[in-house]
């Protein structure tokens, strides 16, 4: 299982704060994960249409597209932070 959390307009477009999903066998990296998530609903597709517009943190640490995603991870998807 993978624990997904969404923030700001990513959350709004997907329509939920987060979701817990079984990790498909062919999802090994952040890029794989985003590709797969984008197929799940029109909201997911809209949120992830521009991959350059979102950032990903794996277990609360910012991660690049090549970063590995493992079963049990918490993966957050959000826009670039705007600070306080």
């Amino acid at each position: 299982m993978i624990d997904l959390v969404y923030f700001a307009w990513v959350r709004e477009r997907i329509g939920v704060d987060g979701e817990v999903l079984p990790l498909p066998d062919d999802v090994a990296t952040v890029a794989d994960l985003l590709n797969w998530l984008a197929t799940r609903s029109p909201g997911h597709a809209a949120a992830l249409a521009d991959r350059g517009a979102v950032r990903v943190a794996v277990d609360q640490v910012l991660a690049g597209l090549d970063a590995p995603v493992r079963d049990g991870s918490e993966v957050a998807v959000f826009p670039p932070v705007t600070g306080g």
Partner: protein, 160 residues
């Protein structure tokens, strides 16, 4: 030790700073920065969202970084989240040190970071609707000046 908190509730600057100096006579300087929501361009409200696990961790890390850069007697960082209206206090940084240079520099360093790097997202509410704010380049420049050198000196105060 710089304490960090992210909360919806208001903060009490006087109580926070009193805690930094209580019972000590080695603190010569206390610098506070209070950020308030500005009512620019008919802003109705600002809503801030955090990623609790990551935001708290990131604030603690930058506070620890400030402590390695300057000799500080203590400090506190409080960032508010939720819906805030113009005039509302939104962020507090208070830093105590023996000397004013370290206190000013650490407070400005923390604020430059908070304004740009803190894992927070802001939505602006106006008469026409609500929109998420994009990251600002000028603020990023303000934060970057702290990376360019290992010593705690500063330059380019003009940044907003």
């Amino acid at each position: 030790m710089i304490a960090v908190r992210v909360q919806a509730a208001p903060f009490d600057v006087a109580a926070e700073t009193a805690a930094l100096t209580a019972g000590r006579s080695d603190v010569g300087a206390v610098v506070t920065f209070t950020g308030l929501v500005r009512g620019d361009d008919d802003l109705v409200a600002l809503t801030l969202e955090q990623y609790p696990a990551m935001t708290g961790r990131a604030l603690a890390a930058i506070a620890a970084e400030a402590e390695t850069r300057w000799p500080l007697a203590g400090g506190v960082v409080v960032h508010r989240i939720g819906r805030l209206v113009p005039g509302d206090p939104i962020v507090l940084v208070a830093v105590a040190s023996a000397h004013r240079g370290a206190a000013f520099a650490a407070a400005e360093f923390l604020m430059d970071w908070l304004k740009t790097k803190a894992p927070l997202w802001k939505a602006e509410e106006r008469a026409g609707g609500t929109a998420w704010i994009a990251a600002r380049v000028s603020d990023d420049d303000a934060a970057k000046r702290w990376n360019a050198r290992p010593s705690p000196s500063g330059e380019g105060r003009e940044t907003a």
